[in-house]
C-alpha cells in the first residue's frame, strides 16, 4: 500500500465540495488510479460543514479516513476552524481570500498556507456556479493527481447533458478549471 495523496475539502452545504470530490475521483478512476473517497455524512450533512476525504494513488488505498491531509482546502470560516485538526507539518492549507475573520484561526503548523481569490474570480470573471470547478482546478494545481485533460473529460461526463443545451457552460467550466489550476500550480506547493 503506497503513499497516496491525501486531500481534504471542506465547505458549507451547497458549495459543491462533494461534487468536486466526485468529479475529481471520477477523473482519477478514468486514469486507472486507485482512489478512496469518503464524504462525511453525519447530521452535519444538513446545515453543517461538509467534508470530503479523498485519497488518490497508484496502489490500493489503506484506511478511509486520515488525520493529516497533504492538501486541506477550506471554503468557509467554519470550515477553516473545523479543518484545523486535519492539518500537520506536511499540509498545504488553502482557503479563500473572501473568508473574513479567520486570521487568528488559521492553522499554526501547516507547511504552507495559501489564500486564493477563487470566489471573487468566479463571481467577477466567470459565474458563481463554477466556483466549485475552480476549486477543483486549484486541487489539481496543488497535487497533480490527475491531468487537466482527464479532469475536463470527467466534467464532460458529469455535466455533459447541461452543456448540450448551453455550450457556453462548457467553455465557462473549463475556463474555471484552468483559472483554479493557475492560482496554485507553480507556487511550489506540489
Amino acid at each position: 500500500m503506497g503513499k497516496a495523496v491525501k486531500i481534504a475539502l471542506a465547505g458549507e452545504g451547497g458549495q459543491g465540495v462533494q461534487s468536486v470530490a466526485m468529479i475529481l475521483t471520477e477523473a482519477a478512476a478514468m486514469e486507472g488510479k486507485e482512489i478512496l473517497y469518503i464524504p462525511n455524512f453525519g447530521v452535519e450533512q444538513r446545515g453543517g460543514v461538509s467534508i470530503a476525504f479523498v485519497q488518490i494513488g497508484e496502489e490500493k488505498i489503506g484506511a478511509p479516513k486520515f488525520k493529516t491531509g497533504d492538501i486541506v482546502i477550506a471554503l468557509s470560516d467554519r470550515a477553516v476552524r473545523r479543518m484545523d485538526m486535519h492539518v500537520g507539518p506536511q499540509t498545504v492549507f488553502i482557503y479563500d481570500t473572501s473568508i473574513k475573520g479567520v486570521e487568528d484561526d488559521l492553522p499554526q503548523n501547516a507547511r504552507r498556507i495559501l489564500a486564493i481569490p477563487a470566489l471573487e474570480t468566479a463571481n467577477k470573471e466567470l459565474h458563481p456556479r463554477v466556483f466549485n470547478i475552480l476549486i477543483m482546478g486549484a486541487v489539481i494545481g496543488a497535487t497533480h493527481v490527475v491531468s487537466l485533460d482527464k479532469a475536463k473529460e470527467a466534467i464532460e461526463k458529469k455535466l455533459g447533458y447541461k452543456f448540450e443545451k448551453n455550450p457556453k457552460l462548457r467553455e465557462m467550466n473549463f475556463k474555471a478549471l484552468e483559472r483554479g489550476y493557475e492560482m496554485v500550480a507553480g507556487k511550489g506547493v506540489a
Binding site: 500500500m1 473517497y37 469518503i38 455524512f41 453525519g42 489503506g62 484506511a63 478511509p64 493529516t68
Partner: protein, 365 residues
Amino acid sequence: MGEKPIRGEQKTFMTGNEAVAWAALAAGAEIMYGYPITPQNEIMQYWTRLAPKYEKRFLQTEDELSAGFTTVGGVLAGRRAFTATAGPGNVLMQEPMSMAEAMRIPTVVIVQQRGGPSTATVIYSQQEVTLTCFGGNGEGLRVVYSTSSHQELFDYTIKAFNTAWKYRFPTFVLADGYQAKMRESLVIYDPQEKGIAMVPTEAYVGKAGAPGEDRAPAHLRNTYNIEEELVEVLEESIKEYDQMAPQITEYEEFNTENADVLLIAHGIVFRSVAMAARELTAEGLKVGYFRPITLRPFPQEELRRAAAKAKRLLVVESAYGQLLKLVKENLYGMDVPIETYLRPGVGITPEEVVTRAKTILGEEE
C-alpha cells in the same frame, strides 16, 4: 432468470452500498425486503433501480421486524431473498433472524454498522459485532463475514448466499458506514463466469404436489412443548454448525512468526492495522497481524496458533471490547498478554495504530 447483469470482469468505482446491490444481483438474488436506515439506504436505492431491469422484486416494509420476517417468508417460498440494516434496525432484525436460526432458514442480511448505543451516529462503528454474532434469544448459530473493502463486500455478498443455502444458517455480511458510503475501485463479475456455482435454492412451502397425498405437508415450527424436544433439535443444529465451522472459517495473517506485537483487528480497521504492521516491519520491528474474516464461526485454531508465537497481542477495534471478547474467549487458557486500542464508534487511522504499537514495544524494553 433472464439477462445476466454483469458480463466479463468490469473494473468499477462505486460506493459499498452500490457494490452490495450489484453483488446481490450477480448472485441471482430474487427479492429484497428493506426498511430505510442510514447508512444502508443506498443498497435499497440501487437495488430498486436495477431490479426491474432483471425481473427482480423489492418490498419496502413498515419496520425492520417486518423486513426480517418478510425476508424469512421470501426464503420459505424458495427465493434467494435478502435484507440490509444497521444500528437500531439491526436490534429489531434479531427477532426474525432468531426465527431463521431456529428453523434453519437461509436468510442473508447486510449490516452497515453505525454508532451505538441507541440512535448514536449514522456514521460508523464496529459496535454491532456482539449483536450480529450472538443476537436473539439463542446460541448464535449464524455465519458472520466481516469485510474490509468494496471488493470483499462484492465477493462476500455473493458468498453469503451460497453459505446460507448450503448450510442453512442465517448469514450476515458485516460492514460499516465507511464501507457503505465511501467510493473505491473494485472488479465486479458474474460468479458463474468465474467458476463460482450458485447453490440452488429450494422452497420450504408451496412445493409441487398435493400435501397429504403426493407428499407430506410441510409443518414448520419453532415452538416446542417440552425441553427434551427443544434440546434434540438444538443439538442437531449445533452439531451441524460445528461440522460446518472448519469448512467456512476464514482469516488472514502476516508476520506471525515470533512477533513482538501481533495486531488483531477485523473489518475496515484491519486496513489501518495492515498498514501499521507493514510500516513497523519496514522499520525493522517485529509486528504482525491476524484478521478474522469470519467472526462467527471464529477461526479459533488459527488464532491460537498465531498467538502462541507472539510476545503480546494488541486488539484494535472501533468498539469497546467486542472483538476483544471474541479473542479472549477463543484464547481461553493461553497466557499471552493482551493489550488494547479500543475506540467505540470512531474510525482508527494507521498512525494511531503505529503510535500505540510503538508505546507497547517501548514499554517492553
